[in-house]
């Protein structure tokens, strides 16, 4: 692909709101995870919550979009001068030439779950329940487009935990085809009962804090997050560059990765080819690294197959939790932070590195000038996406 400049980026996770606090937390090795206290969910698990989402009041013009997911999106949009950056692009290209492509797995589903707790005697949902602007997946993109005054093409990718990595591909394709000149990409996913109880039903939630690449890892910790980036054509000095996108499917199982990471291998190789780079050109890999036994084992084999076992790798989910449909966007912004600040975040919560995993997993932060970073995102339904970012074109 033709390299695309990233002219703005921001992220809000359990670590805090914005790039600066995230960088500070990663450099300090601080986690945003804590024992779950979301609503009255009595599950023994840890979560990375953005508790500020409870207190947000959306502007009157956007009030119909009120739900936890769009509140979280609203917090995210306010950080790092992102709105001003988008307004500059809107003025440069025109509102209908800037697209909005965002990922989410559950959008405003919590709003529907809560409405089901308030059904009338006839079973009807309460009169104040709004479907299109909360529950529907596209609510997130419609809200973001309206908040930013954008009128270009928009859609929401919902491929579980790869969603907000894949939107970089959708945006890059529409820019390359000439439909648009710039796009807001990223993802937002927020706590809801379905994901907490659903991952619990699959026995994928760890009762302790998640421990990617640990020998005793026993599941993931859920997080919530909003992450946004602005991609633009014809840019001279951006924050970083999107150099390659790889997408594949496992075609293996709905909720378990291919044991040898066959789909993941295909996605990583495709991303490298798309970026016209060799494996040795990648200085750091931000792993999907969920801390489930099967993900880390399959991803380890896949990364080893493509890169060998010398490239520095880590998962940042010990800090943010698994933010599901927002994870690709969150980790894309972490990749940009790594490139800009010459810094590879060590993976948190490792007690004993799993001797059966062989990639060069960083347990401690490392400083080094980085040229290229690859970020992996894999999801239910066997959906895989890998992105390559560069400090220079």
């Amino acid at each position: 692909m033709k390299a695309l400049g990233i002219t703005g980026s921001t992220l809000t996770t359990g670590l805090g709101a914005g790039r600066a606090i995230t960088l500070e937390a990663l450099q300090a090795g601080r986690t945003g995870l804590a024992p779950a206290r979301f609503m009255d969910v009595a599950l023994p698990t840890w979560t990375g919550e953005v508790s500020e989402a409870d207190a947000v009041t959306l502007p009157a013009a956007l009030r119909d979009f009120d739900c936890r997911n769009n509140r979280l999106a609203w917090i995210g949009l306010q950080q790092d001068g992102f709105i001003d950056t988008v307004q500059r692009a809107r003025q440069r290209w025109g509102a209908h030439r800037v697209g909005v492509f965002l990922g989410t797995s559950t959008s405003g589903l919590l709003q529907t779950e809560l409405a089901y707790h308030r059904r009338g005697p006839d079973g009807a949902l309460p009169a104040d329940y709004l479907y299109a602007t909360t529950q529907n997946a596209h609510s997130l993109a419609a809200f973001t487009a309206q908040a930013l005054g954008l009128e270009g093409p928009s859609s929401v990718v919902s491929t579980a935990c790869s969603s907000s990595a894949k939107v970089f591909g959708n945006a890059a394709r529409l820019i390359e085809a000439g439909f648009i000149d710039a796009a807001v990409v990223g993802g937002v996913d927020s706590m809801c009962l379905t994901t907490l109880h659903g991952f619990n039903s699959l026995e994928l939630l760890s009762p302790q804090i998640c421990r990617p690449w640990d020998a005793g890892r026993n599941g993931l910790s859920l997080g919530e997050a909003a992450a946004f980036a602005l991609l633009e054509r014809d840019i001279d000095a951006p924050q970083g560059w999107l150099l390659g996108v790889g997408e594949s499917n496992d075609g293996h199982h709905m909720s378990t990765p291919h044991p040898e990471g066959a789909g993941a291998i295909a996605a990583m190789r495709m991303a490298l080819a798309d970026a016209s780079l060799a494996p040795a050109d990648i200085d750091y890999i931000n792993l999907h690294g969920t801390a489930t036994p099967s993900n880390d084992s399959a991803e380890d084999r896949a990364v080893g197959e493509v890169f060998g076992n010398t490239t520095a790798c880590s998962s940042t989910k010990g800090a943010t939790g698994h933010t599901l449909g927002a994870a690709g966007g969150v980790e894309a912004v972490i990749a940009l932070l790594a490139l800009q600040h010459g810094f590879m975040p060590g993976g948190l919560n490792v007690q004993t590195l799993d001797p059966d995993l062989h990639v060069n997993y960083l347990q401690h932060n490392r400083s080094a000038a980085l040229r290229h970073v690859l970020s992996n995102s894999f999801g239910f339904g066997g959906s895989n996406a890998s992105l390559v970012f560069g400090a220079v074109r």
Binding site: G94, A95, H96, S105, L109, T112, E113, Y116, R119, G123, A124, L125, Y129, Y131, A132, Q135, N136, A137, H138, S139, A141, A142, E151, P153, S154, S155, V156, V157, S158, T159, A160, G169, N170, R173, L174, A177, G178, F179, L193, T194, H197, G198, F199, S201, L202, E247, S248, N249, D250, G251, H252, H253, M254, S255, G263, G379, F380, G381, G382, S383
Partner: protein, 275 residues
């Protein structure tokens, strides 16, 4: 504004009164009035037994139209990249999960949770055809058909590789039905290619312009009611243009976002009369 051209190699449809592409041609051409008869979803024969047991309505619907389009195009499904477009995940499954979560024992079924992902149909399809090709699952509420068509056509034009587009929607039961009243299951599938071949049914010239414009309506009142009620059925004017043995250029406007107009110019090729 710019645009691009792709070729349609095969089509599939399943919806009320439209049991398949091949058996719906007379209705789509306007030679027979459309009658609303609820769609019957066939069992997903392609799936391995374990996945077949777990497959819900959204998977059965998407696989039925995908199968028909792939067979019509004579394509190898293992080699096809895919775009699955739907306004939402499976309606009935979402209802049961929300009902369970509102109960005193919020123990959800792992299969229901797995099936709740928006990309369930894509996941099952790629398992069924043992495909590792790229796939995306997206939605844009009432603009979902248009968003899927733009994504699929762009991917084909840039990669040069054919793609399977599946646009499908399943209805919600009450009480969600009152908030999102989709009347029935409806799906359309198209196999799109970058170049013309002996398989080509038509070329599509796809453009986006900023001037608003009303979408092309279906002449048949019953089809028009479907088009207005189900996002996937917003592709009906395109299916009708593909079904007609019509040599002239057919100029359509398809439903998309309120800020943009999606123009699709359809030029049929390989008309039976000329073949």
């Amino acid at each position: 504004m710019s645009g691009l051209t792709v070729w349609v190699d095969g089509a599939g449809v399943l919806g009320p009164g439209l049991p398949s592409w091949s058996s719906s041609l007379a209705t789509l051409r306007g030679e027979r009035p459309h009658v609303f008869v609820p769609a019957v979803l066939p069992p997903p024969a392609r799936l391995p037994p374990a996945e077949r047991r777990r497959a819900g309505a959204a998977v059965k619907l998407a696989m039925a139209v995908a199968d028909e389009a792939v067979a019509h195009a004579g394509a190898d499904p293992q080699q096809l990249a895919t775009v699955f477009s739907a306004s939402s995940g499976e309606g009935g499954n979402c209802h049961i999960l929300c009902e369970t979560l509102a109960s005193d024992t919020p123990m959800v079924s792992p299969t229901r949770f797995t099936n709740s992902v928006h990309n369930a149909a894509a996941g099952y399809w790629h398992i069924a055809v043992a495909s590792r090709a790229a796939s995306t699952s997206l939605g844009a509420f009432d603009a979902s058909f248009g968003a899927g068509l733009i994504e699929a056509a762009t991917s084909v034009a840039l990669s040069g590789a054919p793609i399977l587009l599946v646009a499908s929607d399943t209805p919600y039961p009450e009480p969600l039905h009152a908030a999102r009243p989709l009347p029935d299951n409806f799906g359309i599938a198209l196999v799109l290619s970058a170049t013309q071949s002996s398989r080509s049914l038509a070329s599509l010239r796809i453009e986006l312009t900023p001037e608003p414009g009303a979408p092309t309506a279906c002449e048949d009142e019953s089809l028009e009611a479907l088009r207005c009620a189900i996002p996937a059925a917003c592709g009906l004017p395109l299916l009708q243009a593909l079904a007609r043995d019509e040599g002239r250029l057919q100029t359509l406007v398809l439903t998309y976002l309120p800020t943009l107009r999606l123009n699709v110019d359809v030029q049929r090729v390989n008309l039976p009369a000329l073949a």
